[in-house]
């Protein structure tokens, strides 16, 4: 049967068709959002072999949960939330496996402002600043600012007290503001 090309359709239409069982529409969403999901996973998990798997699992899970997506236009952030949860699961699994508590030397490096100042665009500056944040601060920042989770949701995802999440975010905000002011 001849098929109409779906590549130019917007997210809401593609999500609706996917929910109705249209695999070709879902495939367009896969192609459209794989790079973004990989970028988010990379910032949460670090550059690792696991990126392919965790993004693949995200789409497989998403297909089964499309009923739960109320507004098809929000499929992008919905996919990122599913991914975020899977990334956190993997981080926890790593932690359990290595039996090491996560106590990093948790401060941006001394030359962080210089690195940010070198960025050629605001986006690159922000990316650099984000990379300079300690891991837990970065995760909290991503979950709050990109995924728009509430404090309680972040606490639940990361298995931390809400007060700790607030503290992490407080540090992250101050660090990000100061680092970004280095780029003007």
């Amino acid at each position: 049967m001849p098929h109409q090309s779906l590549v130019d359709l917007d997210d809401a239409v593609l999500a609706g068709r996917s929910s109705d069982g249209d695999v070709r529409a879902f495939e367009v969403l896969i192609r459209r959002y794989t790079p973004l999901l990989r970028a988010y996973a990379r910032r949460t998990l670090g550059s690792t072999d696991e990126l392919d798997d965790v993004v693949q699992e995200t789409f497989i899970t998403a297909w089964g949960r499309l009923d739960a997506l109320e507004d098809g236009a929000k499929v992008k952030s919905w996919l990122m939330r599913i991914l975020s949860r899977k990334c956190i699961d993997r981080i926890r699994a790593r932690r359990d496996h290595d039996d090491v508590t996560e106590l990093e030397v948790a401060a941006p490096r001394d030359d962080a402002p210089d690195r940010v100042a070198e960025a050629r665009s605001r986006e690159e500056a922000l990316e650099t600043a984000l990379a300079e944040l300690p891991e837990q601060q970065r995760r909290c920042w991503l979950m709050k600012e990109v995924l728009e989770y509430r404090y309680e949701d972040i606490a639940e995802e990361l298995d931390l007290p809400v007060s700790t999440v607030r503290g992490l975010l407080s540090r992250a905000r101050k660090n990000m503001i100061r680092l970004m002011e280095a780029w003007r």
Binding site: D20, F59, L126, Q136, E145
Partner: protein, 246 residues
């Protein structure tokens, strides 16, 4: 420092050194000095409550989250708070943009990797109810899944130029042979397409395909235009036929 502080992480100071007395400035650090800054530049040396007229940076972020309602004059009338709020807003505006920019650096999805996803998604997950077909002998009990019926509806509707089916659903007691069923179709229409004409054509095409390929008793086919899509640059909304047949 307490372990709690370790976990939270130290603050970065504007001159790049670790947490210390906020008022100490190191002239040898090579950062922006007073002479380099324009008078209108934001001065965000310190983001503690004593610098923000008694407000913490987190209160300001929460205030933004709440849409700055109810209005708080102690924030609204504070220059320091307004500066900090502006910085937070700028940061927020850039955050998703920076992730999108980073996404542009990632390679596109690999074909065999996509195949791996598709191999693992099950038709069953979106199959819906079993819709009976007419049996002509006692050894038959044929059914078609709702999912398969929806794909029939889509293939019929998609052929009409200028429109694409966004959603379709069956209402009624579909699992009972002979029960009247209402088919609802939501369309996405490209701007400039004749909507009324297209809707009629979709309605006929859907009715025809259901009559041919199913034994549904279709009471009505409701066609609604839900999405208006911007016109494509080449303005060609004829269905372009993929040859893949996948």
């Amino acid at each position: 420092m307490t372990p709690h502080d370790d976990e939270l992480g130290a603050d970065l100071r504007p001159d790049g050194t670790g947490a210390a007395d906020a008022s100490a400035a190191d002239p040898r650090s090579g950062t922006t000095s007073a002479a380099d800054t324009h008078p209108d530049d934001l001065r965000l040396d310190a983001l503690e409550p004593e610098d923000l007229d008694g407000h913490s940076i987190d209160e300001l972020a929460d205030y933004l989250d709440a849409g700055m309602q109810p209005a708080d004059p102690s924030i609204d009338d504070s220059a320091a708070c307004q500066n900090a709020l502006a910085a937070i807003i700028r940061l927020r505006q850039s955050s998703l943009g920076s992730l999108e920019a980073a996404a542009a650096q990632e390679p596109p999805a690999d074909e065999s990797w996509i195949g791996g996803v598709l191999a693992n998604i099950s038709l069953e997950a979106r199959a819906g109810r079993d819709v009976p077909l007419r049996a002509e002998s006692p050894t038959e009990r044929p059914v078609m899944t709702e999912g398969a019926i929806r794909s029939l509806v889509r293939s019929a509707g998609d052929v009409v130029p200028g429109v694409v089916i966004a959603r379709c659903s069956l209402d009624g007691d579909v699992v009972r042979l002979g029960a009247p069923v209402r088919v609802t179709v939501e369309l996405a229409v490209w701007a400039g397409s004749p909507i009324h004409d297209a809707a009629d054509r979709v309605r006929s095409a859907v009715a025809a395909v259901l009559a041919e390929q199913t034994d549904l008793v279709v009471e009505a086919v409701d066609v609604r235009v839900r999405d208006l899509l911007p016109a494509l640059p080449d303005d060609d909304h004829e269905p372009t036929h993929d040859e893949d047949g996948a």
